[in-house]
Point group: C2
Chain length 401, copies 2
């Protein structure tokens, strides 16, 4: 414990510590970066976070926290100068800026090509379709003319989506008539800065997801297939493993692996699928990053999605995705209103046996904002869900009345 010889031996008490282990840079400082940083620190890495503001959930865990615009090549270059490998917690980073880092010989994983393909959801669909993977029918809608063509071809209802920067339902609209479609087309900002595309309405019986991790070598591992349940377009509950036939689970894993290959992914990728009424698996969306549907892996799997992501981007062997319990359920802790994110009710929440509480240390709450999550293990999904739900229900955010 009294290990004061560090500084004496290093000789320069005010100097930056030497980098003995890999230095991982993460673009973005939210909860995904925070949990990735925890995994990286456990493996002895230095972690540098780049976020637009100083008080981000991941900044606390960073060896260094840089504040700046991640789309600014000069800021990214500062991050690169301090790190050996750069990774991303979101797919919204400007791919051109990432390309400039790669051109300068920096390691960015996932790479700019993967990010550019994934961040434009229209291109993402095209990529998956070209790889022979099942996607919901879709169409380009750059103009009202194309919108009307899309309605004719894809039918109604129809989902209009922003090609970029949309998440958790933001930038999306489901329309039931041509008039609604035209209103939404304008409301979503089409024709201006925002490009849209249209997707056919997909009647699904279940939403399934998995995390696939692809190593630099191209080797892939997949985590158990899970059921995801959205509330107001925000992930609310994840149930592992999904209560589907082995054939359906295998099909989800297969399309996830093939999608990761097609995208040239390195690292963890979330793959969201629909199980249609006729039993087909269709890819809904790829996220080229650690994903909310994989948070349960922290407690439930031998090696979490976060550690496997770190291993993948650092070129280390991938860890086992085996579950350590028969079942696990994760419930998100979502804000309900604009207030501080002061957690309330932790005493009751922690009294629920076997529930693991994760709070992200955010300062402000907001409707649907992800402020934490709860994971419980169990012998069955039902048992785990009971504990996780009871624990999550005890927690609220904001000031006491």
């Amino acid at each position: 414990m009294q290990e004061s010889y560090d500084n004496a031996l290093l000789g320069r008490p005010d100097a930056e510590p030497p980098a003995l282990a890999p230095r991982l840079g993460i673009v973005g400082g939210g909860q995904l970066a925070r949990m990735t940083a925890m995994a990286a620190l456990r493996l002895g890495c230095d972690v540098v976070i780049l976020e637009r503001n100083r008080l981000s959930p991941a900044a606390t865990l960073a060896t260094h926290a840089l504040v700046g615009d991640w789309n600014d090549p000069a800021v990214l270059a500062q991050l690169a100068a301090r790190t050996d490998v750069i990774t991303l917690e979101n797919e919204f980073v400007d791919a051109e800026a990432l390309r400039s880092l790669e051109a300068a010989g920096r390691v960015v994983l996932p790479g700019s090509v993967t990010v550019s393909r994934a961040q434009d959801k229209y291109q993402q669909k095209a990529l998956l379709e070209a790889a022979g993977l099942p996607v919901v029918p879709y169409a380009r809608v750059d103009s009202l003319h194309q919108l009307r063509t899309a309605v004719q071809r894809l039918g109604l209802p129809l989902v209009l989506k922003a090609r970029r920067d949309a998440y958790d339902g933001r930038g999306n609209a489901t329309v039931r008539t041509v008039d609604e479609a035209e209103s939404a087309f304008h409301a979503l900002g089409a024709g201006g800065a925002r490009a849209l595309y249209a997707e056919a309405w997909c009647e699904f019986s279940l939403e399934l997801a998995t995390i696939v991790v692809r190593a630099r070598t191209g080797e892939t591992v997949t985590y158990p297939v899970v059921e995801t349940e959205q509330r107001n377009h925000v992930c609310n509950v994840v149930r592992a493993p999904a209560r589907v036939t082995p054939e359906i689970a295998a099909r989800v894993s297969e399309v996830a692996r093939r999608a990761a290959d097609a995208a040239g992914m390195v690292g963890a990728m979330g793959v969201e699928c629909f199980l249609t009424a006729s039993g087909e698996v269709v890819i809904n969306e790829l996220a080229p990053r650690v994903h909310n549907s994989g948070h349960y892996t922290i407690e439930a799997c031998a090696c979490s999605q976060f550690e496997n992501h770190v291993r993948a981007v650092l070129g280390l062997p991938l860890g086992s995705t085996r579950m350590v319990a028969p079942a696990a359920v994760m419930v998100n802790l979502l804000g309900t209103r604009q207030t501080t994110a002061r957690p309330m009710g932790l005493e009751r929440a922690l009294a629920v046996e076997g529930a693991n509480v994760h709070l992200y240390g955010k300062l402000m709450s907001g409707a649907g904002r992800k402020l934490g999550h709860v994971t419980a293990l169990g012998d069955t999904v039902e048992q785990a869900e009971s504990a996780a739900s009871q624990c999550a229900a005890a927690i609220s955010f904001g000031e006491a009345a």
Copy 2:
């Protein structure tokens, strides 16, 4: 992810973030503080670390890191001003300085009385004996006269130990003759600043340990009883659960609970025991803190010793100590020589399925220095030990030749 409204709502981008969750201060910044900080951060706490030097393993994870002498009441007062609860990662902090904080109304857990009883191992023995708990026969040795009396009463070989500030075998000597006893008495610095005591030699068949966590309410939970194996007085391997009869395991848990009660402990306490050749359980030593013999609980138990320590000192309900696998083995990663602590061999280590690597991010290695650990779960202790040992053997520290 784009959650830039934090600063706007808070209005003061350069201000200290408001404390929304409990602020935990930790005296000491080594690996125990590091792993405690990870557990506290997961629960949304702010963590403030106080360590003598800036580059400590826990500093990276701290919301704030204070550099200063933890025995200086003014420095402790700075820590107290930034935190709601102060806890300790070692028992070497001056109990008087802690008492001054308590007198000022600060919450220090474990409290100064507990720390003062535990940090003086002679007093610790006396406390345990007074509580009717089994200890190795011992004697005070303030003078050569008392030393000779101790030899007569306790027999030879005899273990001379510093009453304070000794750990991992430092400050201890095993002597086989009266001459050796007198030499060691002087060599250990007796008569000067260092007070000694003597313990009878204990022939043991096994070293057992457990972690007991005592809440502010006095409620206690105990973790599975483990076997510990020392190498050169440093903990090397921990096997969970111990391969002993249920009666012996129950006896260890019972003495641990009673010891925690007797010490007025709040938080996690390591209790090391000898299992004698005749099958008796005798307490070797208490450590009023999270303990190396409990590192395996991170992966192997529903709630780790670190999280339960945080819960206890914050007054939150204690979590389940149930193992999530039939067996777990932890192997320490110890330095062998004075060099940098650059980890080598991670590629081979992480290729061992199911082994979890924890590196502490220390800068310098040294003989016997704890630089990390590996935990593996398994269906049997033997299976877990095979994986943990293989993984640990692949890791070394220092520069490539």
